[in-house]
């Protein structure tokens, strides 16, 4: 029984990270109808930004005790800022010029940006895997046979906090409202005086920042980072967004948790060989049976 609980716990924490990344995918798709393939790489860059930020703050000096809380938060904010900047730059340089092109072009551009970032990272950061610095001290405690580390708790806390923050942002602030408007109907929003370009940039910034947070949490949890870490994880987060209903924020969260659980349970009870396959199988099923996702809304195509 404790094994099951352990697997569930691990699945939910992994799923929270997927959810953070999936939010970025879903928000960008909602507004631009573009699959931002490069988002996985933003996640990766966020993780590396955390790595270098922590090193700059002298994390080795603190050893296993980890950075003091205020410094850890600083590292997080730094990484989120770097990622936001990166996300906006990608939008400006690569996506904006092709916004009016047929759907194929931005998709291929996105794939190109993704490949570029992966390989640039391999060049700059060396392709060798790096151990993630202990930004937080590792504390373990056992609850009824289930091991819970403070890292896992932090993942939950940070993920939930960010998601609640995002929710508040979307519902209560003007920018958030504008984002919802643009995602519903970009032309109407423009007619209502919304500066759509600014809103699009803001969307990229927010989504990327969330991914960076996911990146740091991933590094703390998974111990090693490498330049290709965004490829598979990004893909799975994308599937999570589709599962929940792409364009739907709550859907992204739900999708992320479900994919995380599915992956962990498959790995534990079926075989670790199938853990990646299960995500794709879910993708295929959902697209064939219910393409709008679990929480999505069917949009009839007008001719």
């Amino acid at each position: 029984m404790s094994t099951l609980l352990q697997q569930l716990l691990n699945g939910l924490s992994l799923g929270s990270i997927y959810a953070l990344i999936a939010l970025g995918y879903t928000m960008v798709y909602g507004i631009l109808k573009l699959i931002n393939f490069a988002h996985g790489e933003v996640f990766m860059i966020g993780a590396y930004a955390g790595y270098f930020g922590a090193s700059a703050l002298g994390v080795e000096r603190y050893g296993a005790a980890g950075l003091p809380l205020y410094l850890a938060v600083l590292v997080l904010l730094f990484a989120m800022a770097v990622a936001a900047l990166l996300g906006v730059s990608i939008e400006l340089l690569a996506y904006r010029p092709v916004r009016s092109a047929p759907r194929l072009t931005p998709l291929i551009t996105a794939i190109g940006v993704s490949l570029f970032l992966q390989n640039a990272a391999m060049l700059l950061f060396s392709p060798n895997p790096r151990p993630y610095p202990p930004i937080l001290r590792e504390v373990r405690f056992e609850l009824g046979g289930v091991i819970v580390t403070n890292v896992k708790l932090t993942i939950f806390v940070v993920a939930i906090a960010l998601m609640l923050g995002l929710n508040w942002f979307i519902q209560r602030t003007w920018t958030g409202k504008a984002m919802r408007a643009v995602s519903t109907n970009i032309d109407a929003a423009r007619l209502m005086g919304v500066d759509t370009d600014r809103i699009i940039r803001a969307t990229f910034a927010v989504g990327s920042a969330l991914a960076a947070a996911g990146g740091i949490l991933f590094g703390l949890d998974q111990i090693i980072i490498n330049p290709l870490m965004g490829v598979l994880t990004g893909l799975k987060a994308f599937v999570a967004a589709v599962l929940g209903g792409i364009g739907n924020i709550r859907g992204a969260v739900l999708g992320g948790l479900l994919i995380g659980l599915a992956e962990q349970l498959t790995s534990g009870y079926l075989s670790p060989d199938y853990r990646d396959a299960v995500t794709f199988v879910i993708l295929i099923f959902i697209l064939i049976l219910r393409p709008e996702g679990l929480l999505g809304v069917v949009r009839p195509e007008k001719v």
Partner: protein, 334 residues
């Protein structure tokens, strides 16, 4: 009479190919030979994918999966068949050629069936969704091979001996198949069926309103495209010591997309050019080692920003040449 003429032309081409093949084997280092083979294989892949992404306007980014099915199918059956054939007619070029071609056909049929299986449920989806589901299928296929113990699982399939798969691929066969598939797809594209496919690309709903059996056509084109990719996979298998699921990752699907983008989406001659270009430059770039893929990715982005229609757009080389250098001629509306 026409048949005789066609046969004569085919034999002539065959002889030329054979001659070039012999010359290559003797006169050129193996390293360059490999690139020439890969170029031919790329041509098949590019033309196959172009049928779907270009002519029919559907978006598949999982074609590496079909290539994998073709490769494993050909390798497995070829390895089983070779000793049988060699016992029967003795070892030599004839047995090799037969083994190769039977293997390729097995691979193609399996790949085509896989295409059917993938296409049937997926082709209801449009645009991005179709792209993503083909990606998913491509990965599922690869992971399946990764776990298939009888095919060597993750460490790959190398046939019966540790020395690897038999090296049956020759210049002649690569380019013979490339030309055959090229002609087949070209004829299809410029036929009535091809025009229906183009109609689906231009406006699927309108095409359906005009009683075009869109889903059936799309699935058929998909299967044909998959089968062709399977042939390319089989040819690839018989020039490697072993084939591994690693060889058929998402990266390979992207390579194929790059080929047709460079040449021009919808142009068959463009696909040929793109295929050769990618094989040659990718290999030459190996010298640049770690900079290689960065440049490759940058090239992709630049192309999309500067000239997304690629080299030839959706026109064929013959049309472009005629426009530039030919006498003024009334051209049918494109």
């Amino acid at each position: 009479m026409r048949l005789l003429l066609r046969l004569a032309v085919a034999s002539a081409i065959g002889l030329v190919l054979y001659g070039i093949g012999l010359w290559l084997q003797g006169g050129v280092i193996e390293y360059v030979q490999r690139i020439v083979f890969l170029a031919g294989i790329n041509v098949i892949l590019a033309v196959a994918l172009n049928l779907i992404n270009g002519t029919t306007g559907q978006f598949s980014i999982g074609h590496a999966g079909f290539m994998a099915v073709g490769a494993y199918g050909a390798a497995f059956s070829g390895v089983k068949l070779q000793p049988v054939l060699q016992n029967w007619i003795g070892a030599g070029a004839v047995a090799d050629g037969l083994t190769l071609n039977v293997g390729l056909l097995v691979g193609a049929v399996l790949a085509g069936l896989t295409g059917l299986l993938v296409g049937a449920p997926s082709l209801r989806l449009r645009g991005d969704y179709l792209a993503v589901v083909t990606l998913g299928f491509g990965e599922v296929i690869r992971i399946s091979f990764n776990n298939a113990k009888f095919l060597g699982a993750a460490t790959g399939f190398s046939g019966n001996s540790p020395a690897g798969l038999p090296a049956l691929t020759t210049f002649f066969w690569v380019y013979a198949w490339a030309i055959a598939i090229l002609i087949l797809i070209r004829n299809l594209t410029f036929s009535q069926t091809g025009r229906s496919l183009a109609a689906i690309r231009e406006d699927e709903i309108a095409a359906e309103a005009m009683a075009t059996p869109t889903t059936r056509l799309k699935v058929l084109a998909f299967s044909l495209s998959a089968a062709s990719a399977g042939i390319a996979g089989g040819l690839f298998a018989f020039m490697q010591p072993s084939i591994r699921p690693e060889d058929f990752r998402f990266d390979k699907s992207i390579d194929m997309v790059v080929m047709i983008i460079i040449g021009g989406l919808g142009s068959i001659s463009g696909a040929v050019v793109g295929g050769i270009f990618v094989a040659v430059t990718l290999e030459l770039m190996r010298d640049l080692q770690q900079y290689r893929l960065v440049l490759y990715a940058l090239l992709l982005i630049v192309i999309m920003l500067v000239r997304p229609q690629g080299l030839l757009g959706s026109r064929e080389l013959s049309q472009v040449l005629r426009l530039r250098f030919g006498r003024p001629k009334a051209e049918a509306a494109k």
